[in-house]
Symmetry: C2
Subunit: 563 residues, 2 copies
């Protein structure tokens, strides 16, 4: 395993651990954890800017993501998490502006996507894990700093006549808040849209009683009562959690994830990826469990991070983040699986049958979040269902998440004449516990508006389906046979590489989310697309644009035409 | 390919009439109308391209919009509308590509917005007017041509081994279908997302039985049975309409709309606009009814296009389209009203109390569509509520559609010491019949998640509310008094003009549509934003981009990085 190198010329690495944090402190005291943001100004992930005033870059957010994950797995006793600042008078100034101004468009977009996912993960912990987040704004929270607070369940703001919350992106930078701020202000906190409009044009923000009246924060607390109020609220939030009582459960350690890499491959224990730069393809193979599922959850607790479902999810999670960030020219991801479908289903059953076990619950939701990451990944996704694969239950979600799937009809006569035909199997994991961001399962999304087809698919649960059956049920896109297989896949991959990468990103962002919308899909679909557009316009990113001119003392020169 | 030029040396005019159509023929035969697209190749609205293969530009779509409107008002007897082509073997090739390649970004976006609104209007006629649209694709429908078909309730495709439906934008042009195609394919026609993906990568499209099986069209009909099948389906669709029987109702003529203009003003009978280019503001004043409302609907039928609500709606509609297209640098629209609130409410009551009258129904839905146009207009909207105004009922919607409203507390002591204070009044028009694209009323949208505030507002129905009451109820944004008024408005307007126009567009597109999403909001919010982004990227619009290279024989040169 080579050491992570400088990320811009080298490779960005998402694996970290608390002992290596430069920007956050994690302190656990019984049921309450405190996550203190104390950004090291000199600790930017790439050179060229200082992270002043608790502003952040990707490196800061990688640590936050790690902390949020570890709290869920390593600290079953933690029921409330306080996010606060280690600086005087400032909570967080948001994403670093010089970093944004200096970054290529793709870096900005990918950075925003990851920060969005981490904030959605905070909301997921609050909603599904009994770990409720409390934002303790001991100073001004501006831009992404306020957006981080918006991801928390309860927001306390110190009432000292200077501290405020603000979304200054529009007046100062000519862009939008990039981490869900606009959507959460109206759709989550229900700030009235005209007040929200006014708020987003005030660089200095809103504090005190007005911030409470406008619903921007939940409480404005005098400094004298600050420590006590934060402690009280944290205790109240902790009290409503169903997580195990202190001392009754042991966390499992998220041990360092083994990963090796060359210029053309990445390998984990269960997941490997071949990086084919010529064809612009990452060929990803996910291996099913080596062993039978434990007889009961005790075995899972014992295996800890080695338990297959958790291990494979961590590997997939890291691979998605790595490829997104480090391999933007690999525009197509081809998924294969290998292994025993029955073992995959048995692992699923064990977890789903014990969803009241805190660890089973965590693993299921982590798998859910990781599959959601795939859904919002701007890469074309193909699934190849071949003999020896294990597209069943949780692993079938990979094929259902794909833009297209190809299921071999029969076997490869030359390569392996004795193989059984490729089969897929719907399991309970496909019928509810792993919803997409739109709130529907991938099967419901697939058969939107076609209840008959959905019912027929559901009814096949547990039956191994050959290509003919799967195609008939609409579960796979195409079912070529041995003779056509290579040619059809080759054409699909080559064709994808010949299309406009931008148009593919837009196509997939639309097609993957038919049907209902949620806070999440609005953030990734609507808000992100507007932000992408604005980020790529001369009024923001051009040499005279607001983003580039910020801090120079010169005002931006705008083309005033409304588009 | 020549450099993009200004497409409109003069002023684009949206007012037209069938006798002036160059591209469409409208034939009415009892309950069935036939709209035949037969585009004049030499009839482009700006020079520089030929409208081959029934491809269209803004001029073609202006005529379509006019026809759809006239069918509703002038032809109460028409219950089904067949859209077909006057060309051999081609239905419509979509938006003209050379026009798109040569147009500035803003022109393309505004053009797509208008075509989207016209297609939504077709669906509105089907849903709310008993005029059901049937697409009779007597040849290939490609890109925007297929998207026009998607707006119809039923799609017939001739089955002749060569005719197909297609969305070739992605493979040929490196952009997305710009008129709702992606959203309607999945969310309206419920094409499976992986098949939709495949379909959108085939420039040649899909025809015959496969197009039916994939739900892309409703029927594939052999040429021999074509005429008869089209006639039968049209008759069946007409039979389910609740519009008046043939001969029992007379349409009202949409007489030419009087409009005068100078370089600094536009004036209609009830609506005037001052164009202040220095401040980047259009000051719009809407006058209430000059006369009392007729005692019954008979009076409305008699007044026809002169009836106040219809007249003012037509004027607003034309003004919005004119300013959007011709005045992109007027980034802020300031709305005032003048007149009798009681008369506005009486006109509303007359229409809403007779919604089973076909004309009342048409006027209400037309007002609804016009207000929706305002919601998706990329201009900042302010409403100024001053003494002598009539922000009541339907006219109050203008203030509720605004990004911010200012309600004068008291009167202007110097200007008009004898005036009564400015008041607003909620009426039945605010409580249901004029929903936004998100399916909610503007009041429901305003008070999203705050049922108590919504109930309090509803309860005030009929009560004239002063600034203090209105602010208390959350119905206006700010309520400055005489002393602060001028300064506060001046600052709001100047500040708006100082911000990035792109960021404002994105901000407003997000804040105006909190809460639920519909086909319409997905098209305007999500799909449009992605399309805007793609249209502004070098991979599409750059000198080596797909849009600019189309037809040159050269392939586009793509930056392959996925963003």
């Amino acid at each position: 395993m080579p050491e992570p190198k400088d990320p811009s010329p080298g490779r960005v690495e998402f694996r970290t651990a608390p002992e290596r944090y430069r920007h956050w402190r994690l302190a656990v005291d019984g049921p309450v954890a405190v996550l203190t943001m104390d950004v090291d100004e000199q600790g930017g992930i790439v050179p060229g800017y200082e992270l002043k005033l608790n502003s952040y870059d990707l490196g800061v957010d990688i640590e936050l993501y790690d902390a949020v994950q570890r709290l869920r797995f390593e600290h079953p006793e933690v029921k409330a998490v306080v996010i606060t600042s280690g600086k005087d008078k400032v909570f967080c100034a948001g994403a670093n502006i010089r970093m944004l101004a200096a970054s290529p468009h793709g870096w900005k977009v990918n950075f925003c996507k990851f920060t969005n996912e981490t904030r959605n993960g905070i909301e997921d912990a609050t909603e599904n894990s009994g770990q409720t987040y409390l934002a303790a704004l001991n100073g001004t929270a501006s831009g992404g700093g306020y957006e981080l607070a918006l991801a928390c369940d309860h927001i306390l703001l110190v009432d000292d006549r200077s501290s405020a919350v603000a979304l200054p992106e529009l007046p100062l930078l000519g862009v939008l808040p990039g981490t869900g701020g606009l959507t959460r202000v109206t759709d989550k906190r229900h700030v009235r849209r005209d007040l929200a409009d006014y708020f987003a044009t005030r660089p200095e923000g809103v504090g005190g009683g007005k911030a409470v009246r406008w619903r921007l924060v939940d409480e404005a607390v005098p400094r004298a009562a600050w420590q006590q109020t934060v402690a009280e609220r944290a205790a109240e939030l902790a009290a409503r959690s169903a997580r195990p009582a202190n001392g009754t459960a042991s966390g499992i350690e998220l041990t360092p994830l083994p990963k090796s890499g060359t210029d053309t491959a990445l390998a984990y224990r269960h997941v490997t990826a071949t990086l084919d730069r010529g064809r612009g393809v990452a060929e990803i193979t996910v291996k099913g469990p080596d062993d039978e599922a434990p007889a009961a959850m005790a075995g899972v607790h014992e295996q800890g991070a080695g338990f297959w479902t958790l291990a494979v999810t961590r590997e997939l999670d890291d691979l998605i983040l790595d490829l997104r960030t480090n391999e933007p020219e690999l525009g197509t991801w081809v998924f294969r699986t290998r292994g025993s479908a029955e073992r995959v289903l048995a692992h699923d059953r064990l977890l789903l049958g014990n969803a009241d076990d805190w660890l089973a619950n965590e693993i299921i939701h982590y798998l859910k979040r990781t599959l959601k990451r795939l859904d919002v990944t701007s890469r074309s996704i193909l699934a190849l269902i071949e003999p020896g694969s294990c597209f069943a239950g949780s692993m079938l979600e990979l094929a259902l998440a794909a833009d297209r799937s190809y299921h071999l009809a029969g076997i490869f006569e030359d390569k392996d004449p004795d193989a059984g035909p490729a089969e897929i199997t719907i399991g309970p994991a496909n019928l509810g516990p792993l919803p997409m961001g739109n709130g529907l399962t991938r099967l419901q999304t697939r058969f939107l508006g076609d209840d008959k087809a959905l019912a027929a698919a559901d009814k096949s649960e547990g039956e191994p389906l050959t290509a003919e059956d799967a195609e008939q049920l609409g579960l796979v896109t195409f079912a070529p046979d041995d003779i056509d297989w290579d040619e059809e896949i080759r054409i699909a991959v080559e064709e994808r590489a010949s299309f406009s990468p931008d148009a593919l990103t837009g196509l997939e962002a639309n097609y993957r989310f038919p049907g209902p919308e949620t806070l999440e899909t609005k953030i990734f679909g609507r808000l992100t697309a507007w932000q992408n557009w604005i980020f790529s316009r001369p009024n923001a990113a051009g040499p005279d644009g607001a983003l580039r001119r910020f801090g120079t003392g010169q005002r931006a020169a705008f083309d005033r035409k409304r588009v």
